[in-house]
Amino acid sequence: MSEKDVIICRCEDVTLQDLHDMMDQGYTSFEELKRLLRIGMGPCQSNTCGQLVQREISKYLKVKLEDVKTQKVRPLATGVKLNSICEGANNES
C-alpha cells in the first residue's frame, strides 16, 4: 500500500507519507513532529498514534525502540465538556 494511504494519526488525519516527509527534513523527535504535523494533538492525545510514531522514528533513526524518547503526556485523560467542569467547580464551592 502507498504511504499516502496509510493513516498514522486518525484524529488529525496525518499519513505515513506526511510523517516521512517531515523526518526527511530533519524533524525526528515526537515533540517536533507533533508541533509541525499535529500528531498526538487530537482527542486521543497520542494513545493511538504514539506507539506507531515511536516505531517509525526507531526505524528511521535505526535506534532501538526503547531508546526513542516518549512524548510528554498532558492532562486531561479524556475530553470533558467545559460546562461539566464549570458545574463541578460551582458545586464544590
Binding site: L36, P75, L82
Partner: protein, 381 residues
C-alpha cells in the same frame, strides 16, 4: 569552533534575530538551543497577534510586526502554511472606567495608523453572536489583529536563516560564558566550546540565568501561565475575545479548536510549566460566563508556559553598558511571539550600529537602574 555571533535560544526571537543578521550579510552565526525548536515559551504561547495596546512603544512594535507577518510567507519563502488569520481582536470592557481607558487607547492607536475602533455592545454582538453582552459595558475592535501558528512561523524563520548559512545546534544547553578582561571570550555547552566575542541573549524564561553567566544583572523573572484547548468544530468565532478585568482570552484557531488562557495573580516566580486543576476550574467558569456556547465543547488538553516579566512589562531590546558584545532580547512579559519580527530587525540594527527603524532608547536595559516606579502596560492578561 569559532563564531562571529552566538545566539542563545531557538524560539521565535532567536530565530528572527539570526535571520535579520544573516540577511544583512553577517557570516558565522551560531544558534544554541537547550532542547528543540520552539520548545520554550514560543511553542507554548496563545498564538494571538494584536496591535491594541495602551503604550505607544507596544503599539509600534506590534504594528511593524503585523506588517511583516502579512508578507512573511513570501519574504521568507516558506513552503508550509503559517496559518495567519486576520479576523480581529475584540476587547470587551466591563465597567465605565475601562470603557474610558479603551477610548483613550483607540485614540492613541489611530494616531499611529492602527485601524482599531471603539464599539458598543450591539456592534460587539454582531461580530461575535454568542458573546454574553449582559456582563460587558462596551468593546474595542481591531480587524487586522488575529492569529498565527507559532510553530510554523518559527520554522519559517529557522529555514530561511539556515539557507543563509546560520548554524543551529539543538539539545545544547549553554552552561557558561567565559569573560576575560571584560570581554566575551567563549560560550560553553555540554559538548562544545565556541570562541566568540558576541553573544545574544534570547533565552526567554532563562534570560536572567544567561545574564548571570555573563555577570550582567537582568531584572526579569519567569512565571507560569496556563492554557487549554478544546476539540475542533466548524468556524463559529472569528476574532479573539479578550477581557482584562474578567481575565480571559479565547480564540478559535483555523484548525477549529478554541484556545483560551487566563493568568493566576498568585503565581510564584519560577520555571514551572505545570498544569493545575485550579486553572481548569477558573477557566471553565470564566469562559462559560462570557461565551456560553463554548461551554458545550470538550477540553482536549492543557499546558503551561513561562511569561518572562520585566519591571515595566515592556521588552528589553538593547546592548549592555556593562559588557561589550552582550545583547539582549528578553523580558517580553508574555508578548515575545507577536513582536518577534521587530525584535529581530531592531536588535540587528543595534548590533550592526545602523540607524534604528523606531526610537527604542526606552527599551534599553539601563532604564531599570535606580528606578522603582514605572508606567505599566495595563492591557495584559
Amino acid at each position: 569552533m569559532k563564531a562571529n555571533y552566538v545566539i542563545i535560544g531557538a524560539g521565535i526571537s532567536g530565530c528572527s534575530i539570526a535571520y535579520n543578521l544573516a540577511i544583512k550579510g553577517v557570516k558565522d552565526i551560531v544558534v544554541l538551543e537547550k532542547a528543540y525548536l520552539t520548545s520554550g515559551s514560543t511553542g507554548r504561547c496563545g498564538a494571538g497577534i494584536r496591535q491594541q495596546w495602551g503604550t505607544k512603544m507596544n503599539c509600534l512594535l506590534a504594528k511593524g510586526s503585523i506588517e511583516f507577518f502579512e508578507k512573511a510567507k513570501e519574504t521568507l519563502k516558506y513552503d508550509g502554511d503559517i496559518e495567519f488569520k486576520q479576523e480581529g481582536y475584540l476587547l470587551v470592557s466591563t465597567d465605565e472606567e475601562e470603557d474610558h481607558q479603551f477610548k483613550k487607547n483607540v485614540k492613541l492607536q489611530n494616531s499611529l495608523g492602527i485601524p482599531a475602533r471603539k464599539i458598543n455592545k450591539k456592534e460587539a454582538k454582531q461580530i461575535v453572536p454568542h458573546l454574553n453582552t449582559d456582563v460587558i459595558t462596551g468593546a474595542a475592535f481591531c480587524p487586522t489583529d488575529g492569529h498565527l501558528n507559532p510553530f510554523r512561523m518559527t520554522d519559517a524563520y529557522f529555514k530561511a536563516a539556515k539557507r543563509l548559512g546560520v548554524k543551529f545546534y539543538f539539545n545544547e544547553e549553554v552552561t557558561d560564558i567565559i569573560i576575560v578582561n571584560n570581554k566575551i571570550e567563549k560560550v560553553i555547552t555540554a559538548n562544545m566550546e565556541i570562541n566568540s566575542n558576541n553573544v545574544v541573549n534570547a533565552a526567554g524564561g532563562y534570560a536572567k540565568e544567561i545574564g548571570d553567566m555573563a555577570g550582567v544583572n537582568i531584572p526579569v523573572y519567569a512565571e507560569n501561565h496556563e492554557i487549554l484547548v478544546t476539540e475542533p468544530i466548524e468556524e463559529v468565532q472569528r476574532p479573539m475575545v479578550m477581557s482584562f478585568t474578567k481575565n480571559i482570552y479565547c480564540q478559535q484557531v483555523p484548525h477549529g479548536s478554541f484556545i483560551m488562557g487566563r493568568s493566576n495573580p498568585e503565581v510564584e516566580h519560577n520555571h514551572s510549566n505545570e498544569s493545575t486543576w485550579k486553572f481548569l476550574d477558573e477557566m471553565a467558569k470564566t469562559v462559560c460566563e462570557i461565551l456560553p456556547l463554548v461551554g458545550n465543547l470538550r477540553v482536549i488538553r492543557q499546558w503551561g508556559g513561562s511569561y518572562t516579566m520585566s519591571p515595566d512589562r515592556q521588552p528589553i531590546i538593547s546592548d549592555t553598558n556593562e559588557l561589550e558584545g552582550f545583547y539582549l532580547a528578553c523580558g517580553f512579559s508574555g508578548h515575545g511571539f507577536m513582536f518577534a519580527p521587530m525584535t529581530g530587525l531592531l536588535l540587528s540594527e543595534i548590533i550592526l550600529k545602523e540607524k534604528s527603524t523606531i526610537d527604542i532608547s526606552d527599551l534599553h536595559l539601563s532604564r531599570f537602574k535606580n528606578k522603582k516606579d514605572f508606567i505599566y502596560e495595563k492591557s495584559v492578561v
